[in-house]
């Protein structure tokens, strides 16, 4: 473990989520390790975002979610960073990247201005994801990939134990996707944090993931990409896509 890393692993035991009478998730057993990129895959409606929301503590769930440090001790408070799906926001809103970051990182209301100390902090955060040139740009003028990097910079401050990325690169062009995932990789190796990502892009999952979890309300199969992509469950879930484009081979 590096000094930045407090967490060692997150264990999910028989995690389930109900919405009314419907069982959205059941018997989810999996673990997420620090220093690893774990990717959740599955069809729409498979419960990926629900699992993320349960992990973030946004919705109640049954079963057990344990956070352990390097000595096997339970960690009551886990620092979590979150990058949402492609931001759906009003692009005409007069808000700069600095406004968004400063509003998140300081108590001073941004309409009264931003202190020099906060500006330096924001610059450092953006530099971490190679986006410092965006600091004064209105959010509505940033491309999808640039906004996702800004959100990644935000999720990294304070440095989280668990970084959750919910389809962060859908709708971003391929260059932007690679740039984003390369940055995530840098952070993973530099900070040794646990990263959980939801993605539909199986080609990128194959290239970047350490572990893959195939979900369809429960865990169908999990392990290294090669094992998951070669499984019968994977072939069954993605049968139609396999005929169209065998991108995982």
């Amino acid at each position: 473990m590096t000094p930045d890393c407090r967490l060692c692993r997150i264990d999910l035991k028989n995690v389930g989520v109900r919405r009314g009478d419907e069982e959205v998730l059941k018997n989810v057993n999996m673990h997420i390790h620090c220093g690893e990129l774990t990717v959740l895959i599955g069809q729409n409606g498979a419960g990926k975002t629900t699992l993320i929301r349960a992990l973030l503590g946004e919705i109640p769930c049954s079963g057990e979610i344990r956070h352990e440090d390097g000595n096997g001790k339970l960690m009551p408070h886990l620092r979590k960073g979150y990058v949402p799906q492609q931001l759906d926001f009003d692009r005409d809103m007069p808000v700069t990247v600095l406004d968004l970051m400063a509003a998140s990182l300081s108590h001073r209301p941004v309409w009264t201005g931003v202190s020099t100390a906060t500006r330096r902090k924001v610059e450092a955060c953006l530099r971490r994801v190679h986006a410092d040139q965006l600091i004064s740009r209105p959010l509505g003028c940033c491309s999808g990939g640039e906004i996702q990097r800004v959100l990644l910079a935000l999720a990294m401050e304070p440095v989280p134990d668990l970084l959750v990325l919910d389809e962060p690169i859908s709708g971003v062009d391929e260059n932007g996707q690679r740039l984003f995932l390369d940055t995530v990789n840098e952070l993973r190796f530099g900070k040794h944090m646990a990263i959980l990502m939801v993605s539909h892009d199986l080609k990128l999952v194959r290239d970047y993931a350490d572990r893959v979890v195939l979900l369809d309300r429960e865990v169908l199969v999990q392990g290294p990409p090669a094992i998951v992509f070669g499984s019968d469950a994977f072939a069954q879930v993605f049968a139609q896509r396999k005929e169209r484009a065998p991108i995982w081979k």
Partner: protein
């Protein structure tokens, strides 16, 4: 108060300001417009223009229920009902399986109908008709004190909740992940708007109050690139419209509320024309 009146006479030696009611009206505008300008920026960002309009209309119901419940002060009745009604609209909007504008429209019509039903009983609505267009020249020194306290309290609370509201207006899931209490802040904002609207209604009028909240902020949005520019321009536009409207109304012997809103509308049109040049 006399000292303030004297200072105004010395600093602004205009003919119109010889009268105390004009001095008081000017002070009321200088106190009200910055608060409305600030709150308006978020009302526009959160696309809540219809919400604040519905709140303004509910003033009638507040007064009506105040009479039924035996409250002495119309203002207290309006403030109480405005706050409760704002929270009811927010709760219904989150709970109902209907779009926000439908819910707000239903709430607005219901409150107006209920207010009219109570106030028009026995044909006595005429005495409340001044609420519709307002009268800023009727401001008393005591009103000014209340407005000053409201401005101070409003700005302090606004400083406290602004950052969280800004992140929420960009993306709610992102705000929740930053431990922002999104629902609580939405309620605080709704209450702040309700208080500002109800406090201003007697001076600006029920039909125009929403325009004064929304137009300066919407005009500022046309030319602002950052949150700070948005707030500064919105407050400047609200104050300029307020002062210009007041003096024009004096000169033309017409409703101040209407003149103020027309100035704000003209500023909006001008900024809209400049939008492409400034924001690209």
């Amino acid at each position: 108060m006399e000292m303030i009146d004297h200072v105004i006479e010395v600093l602004l030696p205009f003919e119109a300001l010889r009268f105390d009611f004009m001095k008081h009206a000017l002070l009321a505008i200088l106190l009200l417009t910055p608060l409305l300008g600030l709150l308006g920026t978020m009302a526009v960002n959160k696309q809540m223009a219809f919400f604040s309009d519905a709140l303004g209309h509910s003033a009638l119901t507040g007064i009506g229920l105040g009479i039924v419940l035996g409250l002495r002060s119309d203002l207290v009745a309006m403030l109480l009902f405005g706050v409760i009604w704002a929270l009811v609209i927010i709760a219904v909007r989150h709970g109902a399986q209907a779009s926000a504008d439908t819910v707000i429209s239903v709430c607005s019509s219901t409150s107006v109908a209920l207010g009219l039903l109570i106030l028009s009983r026995g044909g006595g609505f005429a005495k409340y008709s001044s609420l519709l267009i307002g009268d800023v020249l009727a401001v008393t020194p005591q009103d000014l004190l209340y407005l000053l306290l409201a401005l101070m309290a409003g700005v302090v609370l606004w400083m406290y909740v602004y950052n969280g509201l800004l992140i929420t207006s960009i993306n709610e899931a992102l705000a929740r992940s930053r431990s922002v209490k999104t629902r609580l802040l939405e309620c605080v904002f709704a209450v702040l708007v309700a208080l500002a609207v109800m406090l201003s209604i007697r001076w600006v009028g029920m039909m125009l109050i929403n325009a004064l909240l929304i137009l300066p902020a919407a005009a500022a949005r046309n030319i602002a690139r950052s949150s700070r520019q948005h707030a500064v321009w919105s407050v400047v536009f609200a104050m300029v419209s307020g002062i210009a409207g007041l003096f024009s109304a004096y000169a033309w012997n017409t409703s101040a509320g209407a003149a103020i809103v027309l100035y704000a509308a003209a500023i909006f049109a001008a900024t809209l024309a400049l939008k492409k040049r400034i924001k690209g």
